[in-house]
């Protein structure tokens, strides 16, 4: 029998190393980045300016125009992911579990997941060649037109990551016991009814999870846009999202001198956008989702 004090000491022993690493490499940098956003360090010395950088970011036309544009684009980037990736992922998962593919299920499952394992640079490069007006299949400059550029990039990203919601929903569908489906069939339900009335409610909690993951992922998005269009993504900043806006502010671009305070401010805003929504989601939505005991 181990005494309580020893038990706590053991607990501390096991927790402290991981906690120390986490604090040193995640919590501290995060907080110091947020702290940086309250200072103005241009001109050598650092002065506390309160919410000055935030006011600049939201209201000073020189920076706010780009910020609101990037935020709007980011919302569009998220919505396209959600509206396309989720239904397509569901359709594929339903087909994979429908039993109609017989023994080729494993092959399809692997093929559909492969893009998610590719480097984003390769995905960008492949698609850029496919839709290139000079050498590719599409004569229309999809990436060069302000209206089509962002949807095009979003769809490339959807193509790459559709395997993720597919796997989530696929495993959820597999977890449904055969007896439930059988019972429905005996009661006279067809395939369509069985899916929507029986299977769908059982996998519904997955949608909340996928939505919030897509949200986090798209608002932290950066790589596909940067790989295709660089850090000042054109045309006319129509593909600029928060990640690229942050990169440009914090690290500078060819013509732009890096501004650490502004960059930290943008990073803090991105952090807040994700934090608030996730917290709201977990408190309000996730707790109310009905899960069925099977």
């Amino acid at each position: 029998m181990i005494r309580t004090a020893t038990r706590y000491r053991m607990l501390a022993m096991f927790v402290v190393p991981a906690l120390a690493v986490y604090v040193a490499f995640a919590v501290y940098p995060l907080l110091s980045s947020v702290a940086l956003s309250f200072f103005d360090s241009s001109g050598g010395s650092s002065a506390f300016v309160g919410f000055g950088n935030y006011v600049d970011l939201f209201a000073n036309p020189a920076t706010s125009e780009r910020f609101w544009n990037a935020l709007g684009n980011n919302v569009e980037f998220f919505l396209i992911h959600l509206v396309v990736e989720l239904p397509v992922g569901l359709l594929i998962a339903a087909l994979l579990t429908s039993g109609r593919l017989r023994r080729s299920v494993a092959i399809y499952r692997t093929l559909l997941f492969i893009p998610a394992t590719l480097s984003v640079v390769i995905v960008g490069f492949l698609w850029r060649l496919i839709i290139n007006p000079l050498w590719g299949l599409v004569p229309f400059p999809l990436l060069g037109n302000e209206l089509t550029a962002l949807p095009t990039i979003s769809l490339m990203s959807v193509w790459q990551y559709v395997g993720i919601p597919m796997v989530f929903l696929y495993t959820a569908l597999l977890a449904i016991p055969e007896e439930v489906v059988e019972a429905a069939r005996i009661d006279g339900a067809g395939g369509w009814t069985t899916f929507w009335r029986v299977k769908f409610p059982l996998i519904a909690p997955q949608f909340g999870l996928i939505t919030i993951l897509t949200y986090i992922w798209t608002f932290n998005g950066f790589d596909i846009v940067y790989a295709l269009n660089g850090s000042a993504p054109g045309p006319n900043y129509s593909t600029d999202i928060l990640g690229t806006f942050f990169y440009r502010s914090f690290f500078g671009s060819s013509g732009q001198v890096a501004d650490l305070d502004l960059g930290a401010t943008v990073a803090s805003v991105i952090f807040a956008i994700i934090l608030v929504t996730c917290a709201a989601y977990f408190w309000i939505v996730q707790r109310r989702l009905k899960t069925y005991e099977l």
């Binding site: 036309p61 020189a62 004569p139 400059p141 060069g144 000042a232 054109g234 045309p235």
Partner: protein, 424 residues
């Protein structure tokens, strides 16, 4: 139950960490030589420096050895800054042109070099990119890049075309190629804004805004982008948009280079750094400079200062480092350097011979022309919105959405006025 192993393990881990963090051993070497370290962003040139240039220096300067220490170009600024702040900076530092270097000078990273003979081997325009606000020079220029119009000689011969020297002749030539219909007149796309700005607008425009007069006029506030000279420059740039390949809005820098090297396009506006690339498929390529407005006008040639070396103010080996910097000013070094690296050009006053014929043709463009830097990189982009980025954006809008030269100039000037106070 005892936990003695755990503290030991912690000690071991800490010990490892301390060893791992220990600074690399100093610059002294066994044979009594002084070793100087060159900090640069040219990772791709490491082999060339180590095999050719450093041995040439060490042969004539016994007792000094040189270590080439490149950092990837994207990390270079941050790396050098943290090294210098931490007291471990290289003895000789490669200098970025204009604003970045000016901030480094203000932070006291460099010693002034006005007393060096090497500095007097360069004209004022070459030194300008690395001078402080006090007018002193802090870096010895190494190389510049030039902009020009590459042209496919075979296509020009086939269609019986002459190399254009005025804007009207250029438009006629492009029209003739378009009428013939076999080739794309101009290998140019607008997917990369920087390319439109650096290789087209900043190349043609100086002939209208009179090169350095216009550029420095914007900086000291005596000129505005809405002045007729600047608008004329934007208009000349705008005239080329009728001769682009279809789908040009999506055509990137790599695409247009390929279009030209495959022999499908006649003219490619680009930088001298592409010399090896454009001739890689065996094309017979020539180059001409930006056409002037009217026959007999003064010609302006874009020469972009690219690399220079400065002396770390905290260096422990200043004497040896200074000897190295002096050597950079000699034609021995410049001759060696530019011929190892076709596409880069000596900025010195002494003429240098280029073994690469196309490089020599490029260098000849400087004859009789006044040199000028890219328009917006000095001071005008050190605020929000940065003029350079805005020019990328607006030049794309001119080609993609039909923004007029007047509107473009007005929009740019408005952005600049919102934050820039002219330097006196």
């Amino acid at each position: 139950m005892r936990f003695t192993p755990a503290p030991l393990a912690v000690l071991a881990v800490v010990g490892l960490a301390v060893v791992g963090c220990a600074p690399a051993s100093g610059t002294g070497s066994e044979d009594g030589d002084t070793t100087i370290v060159l900090g640069t962003w040219r990772t791709e040139d490491a082999a060339m420096w180590e095999a050719d240039i450093i041995p040439a220096f060490e042969k004539t300067h016994p007792g000094i050895s040189v270590e080439y220490a490149p950092v990837d170009t994207n990390d270079y600024n941050a790396a050098i800054q943290s090294q210098i702040e931490g007291g471990t900076g290289p003895d000789v530092i490669m200098c970025r042109p204009f604003d970045v270097n000016r901030s480094w000078i203000e932070k006291g990273y460099f010693d002034p070099l006005d007393d060096l003979d090497a500095i007097s081997a360069f004209p004022e325009t070459a030194l300008a990119a690395w001078q402080g606000d006090d007018g002193s020079s802090y870096c010895v220029p190494v190389a510049s890049v030039l902009a020009g119009f590459y042209y496919n000689k075979a296509i020009f011969d086939e269609l019986g075309l002459e190399v254009p020297t005025t804007q009207d002749e250029l438009i006629d030539v492009l029209q003739a190629i378009a009428d013939d219909g076999t080739y794309t007149p101009l290998a140019l796309g607008s997917a990369d804004g920087w390319q439109l700005a650096y290789n087209v607008l900043y190349q043609i425009g100086p002939n209208y805004w009179h090169g350095e007069d216009g550029r420095l006029g914007l900086i000291d506030g005596t000129k505005k982008l809405t002045d007729p000279d600047f608008v004329a420059g934007f208009a000349a740039f705008d005239e080329l948009k009728d001769f682009l390949p279809s789908g040009f809005e999506s055509i990137s820098y790599e695409d247009m280079t390929q279009l030209f090297t495959l022999g499908k396009a006649a003219i490619l506006p680009d930088g001298s750094w592409q010399i090896s690339q454009v001739t890689s498929t065996g094309l017979d390529v020539g180059v001409f400079g930006a056409p002037v407005a009217e026959d007999g006008d003064q010609r302006y040639q874009q020469e972009m200062a690219d690399m220079a070396f400065g002396l770390n103010a905290e260096s422990a080996n200043k004497e040896a480092a200074t000897e190295f910097l002096e050597w950079l000013g000699t034609s021995e070094f410049q001759q060696l350097y530019v011929n190892k690296l076709p596409g880069f050009f000596s900025m010195g006053t002494e003429p240098v011979h280029y073994d690469n014929a196309l490089a020599q043709e490029f260098a000849d463009l400087k004859q009789g022309a006044q040199l000028t830097s890219r328009l917006a990189l000095d001071r005008l982009s050190a605020g929000q919105p940065p003029l350079d980025d805005e020019i990328w954006r607006v030049s794309q809008l001119m080609y993609n959405s039909g923004l007029s030269p007047e509107e473009a100039a007005a929009e740019l000037q408005k952005g600049l006025d919102s934050w820039y106070t002219p330097a006196s």
